[in-house]
Amino acid sequence: MYSVVGLISTNYATEGLGVLTNERTVASLPFGGRYRLIDFPLSNMVGAGIKTVGLITPYKYRSIIDHIGSGKPWALDRKSGGLYILPGSVFGISSAESRFILRDIERNKAFLERSAADYVVVTAANTVSRIDFADLVEKHSASGADMTLVCRRAAAAEPFMDALDIRDGRVAGVRKGAEKGDAMFLDCFVVNRELMEKILEWYKAINHLDLFEVLAADYDKMDVRPYEFDGYVGPIFTTDQYYDVSMELLKPTVREELFAADRPVLTKSHDRVPVKYVEGARVSNSLIQAGSRISGTVENSIVSSEVVIEAGARVKNCIILQDCHICAGAAVENAIIDRANVIAAGAVIRGAKGDPFIFSKSSGK
């Protein structure tokens, strides 16, 4: 029986997310009305029996620390193992596109050294999926590989994802941008812990680089294999992708896979009241989170908690984040309304289809 620790990188690859990540990490981006992106990788880890998880949090970490706390909702408030907040290295040296900066891991080497784990599962937080890490580690362990990278056949071109070059069942390289049909790298892998420590030692001099940049010349020296995942994957690197992946939750098949009861997505709970629908409310094809009060019209939308939609207000094709108030007669269409905004009575906000209008987070909340 082997033991596994998890490592999640909470805020890289944010350059396409604009104002949505002005004040938060990618990992703490609200998603699906009730969740934050971190809930998916974290629940996947906990669901796979991983009881020690480190979060690399280099900057803008207020919201992620607020959300994660002691790790209690994920049962990570433990005496042995549990949750570790790992401060990142100095920001500004490296490319903002990097996912796994070596220095971040190196500066937190104690986290790896103190653990007696055989394997480390490492993942970014930009991708929504329900990867079975237990199966990943089992396949990795059985194969005897040094490192196993999770990939999926790209259904469409994904310019922000990397692609794996696979030759004879081995990973021979990683390149930027995935074309349709490529083995798209899901920014998620498992590595033998001792090897990870060695890699940190080898590349001390260039540790401001991304792990996969420094490994570029090493694929012939190491046994790196792909692990193909064929479930749902929602990559979130741009505001458009954030909007599109969110809207995919309105499909029953996507919800059934992501929220399957045998491995629930765990999140911080807030004692929200059930949603109140008032006489005159009209709601169609929408996800509504507890704590909201709906008197107006909501169509093809995702509504987070504590949102008030007054009588006569119309919300269509929108993502409305927590604590927003849509006043009587306002019309909001094709928009992302970030947290704690008040849309005044009669106001009209209309984004284009395929190019949602983004109303940034109200300051002070």
Binding site: R255, S269, V275, V278, I288
Partner: protein
């Protein structure tokens, strides 16, 4: 352990037989209420919001689900290192063991718990009432009166007074008479079953009561009359907020429907003291194309494809296409399949009304229809 000012003893052992099918498998305090809550949430939240951090929960009837729900008490911030929630079931000793024979006996059998915490005051609560109360105000009143016992009371309509324990006070608020369900009440102040005792007189009264072979070991029937007869200082604390007993099918249904009022007497959305509960990890509710919802409370994990009017849908319940739910309460996981009709009904946890089936009647002369947990109704095989 440091001496405590006030601890709570929450009586949660009753069967709640008047809730019929709803308490066949679980104790009354564990019955789902208000969409995402369980009845005990209201008392536990009141304790937490009143900063009473030591709560003994006395359980007896079918305690498994209740115990699992309470867990460490963390959901109510009651997982405190010095105190917190303790589940107190009946237990055996070297001379044998006994079930709790009444409310007073249940507390008597746990005198060790009270002594261990060594409080100045003991708050006695039932786990089946819907109300928000700051017990600190009641305690201040108790302390001010130098009372042995303070009973929380509220005025009820005179015609209903004979259903309650009725308290008669003198002009200073001191209780001069306590009559359990009097035929001819001389006061309309009803006991809410919430007591604050000074610890010493409580312990003395319980020890004396336990030795009395004729006693039914009940607070209302035995302890309070005895304290009055002994000339102890009993006072009423008048509560003016919303308080409802949800211990019968009719009161459960009526109280649930009152939550749906445009300005409900008990407003779950009140910004003040929130009601805490042991939340489950369910995704937001999905409201489908063609769904119609009005005057309703709908919880996380629900899927609504049909019509829901003036109803409460608890966590993870389902209303299929063309189905209609009206003036009803669906407990967690209840399913109303396509084209079914549920009117003036309470569906137990994971109960199902089959496609095209009917449960309940809009006729107010008919009783509220109830089906128990896991039951299936409305199919061809149903009566």
């Amino acid at each position: 352990m440091k001496k405590k000012k006030c601890i709570a003893m929450l009586l949660a052992g009753g069967q709640g037989s008047r809730l019929g099918a709803l308490t066949k498998h679980i104790a009354k305090p564990a019955v789902s209420f208000g969409g995402k809550y369980r009845i005990i949430d209201f008392s536990l939240s009141n304790c937490a919001n009143s900063h009473i951090g030591t709560v003994g929960v006395l359980t007896q009837y079918r305690p498994l689900r209740l115990n699992a729900y309470i867990g460490t008490g963390a959901s109510w911030d009651l997982d405190e290192p010095d105190g917190g929630v303790s589940i107190l079931p009946p237990y055996a000793t070297e001379t044998g063991g006994e079930w709790y024979k009444g409310t007073a006996d249940a507390v008597y059998q746990n005198l060790d718990y009270i002594r261990m915490n060594d409080p100045e005051y003991v708050l006695i609560l039932s786990g089946d009432h819907l109300y928000r109360m700051d017990y600190r105000k009641m305690l201040a009143c108790h302390v001010e009166h130098k009372a042995d016992l303070t009973i929380s009371v509220m005025p009820v309509p005179w015609e209903e007074a004979s259903r309650f324990g009725i308290v008669t006070e003198d002009e200073t608020g001191r209780i001069v008479k306590f009559s359990e369900k009097p035929r001819k009440p001389d006061s309309n102040l009803a006991s809410m079953g919430i007591y604050i005792f000074s610890a010493k007189p409580l312990i003395n009264a319980l020890v004396a009561d336990a030795a009395d072979p004729d006693s039914e070991h009940d607070f209302g029937k035995n302890i309070i009359p005895k304290l009055l007869a002994d000339g102890k200082r009993l006072f009423g604390y008048e509560f003016t907020g919303y308080w409802k007993d949800v211990g019968t099918i009719d009161s459960y249904h009526e109280t649930s429907m009152e939550l749906l009022d445009p300005k409900p007497g008990f407003n779950l959305f009140d910004a003040g003291d929130r009601i805490m509960s042991n939340n489950v990890s369910e995704p937001p509710q999905y409201i489908g194309k063609g769904a119609k919802l009005s005057e309703s409370l709908v919880s996380n994990g629900c899927v609504v494809l049909g019509t829901v009017r003036h109803s409460i849908l608890s966590t993870g319940s389902y209303v299929g296409k063309g189905a209609v739910v009206e003036d009803s309460v669906l407990l967690p996981g209840a399913k109303v399949m396509d084209g079914a009709r549920v009117v003036r009904a309470i569906m137990g946890e994971n109960a199902t009304v089959s496609a095209g089936g009917v449960l309940g009647s809009a006729d107010p002369a008919e009783a509220i229809a109830v089906i128990g947990d896991n039951a299936v109704a409305g199919g061809k095989e149903a009566k």
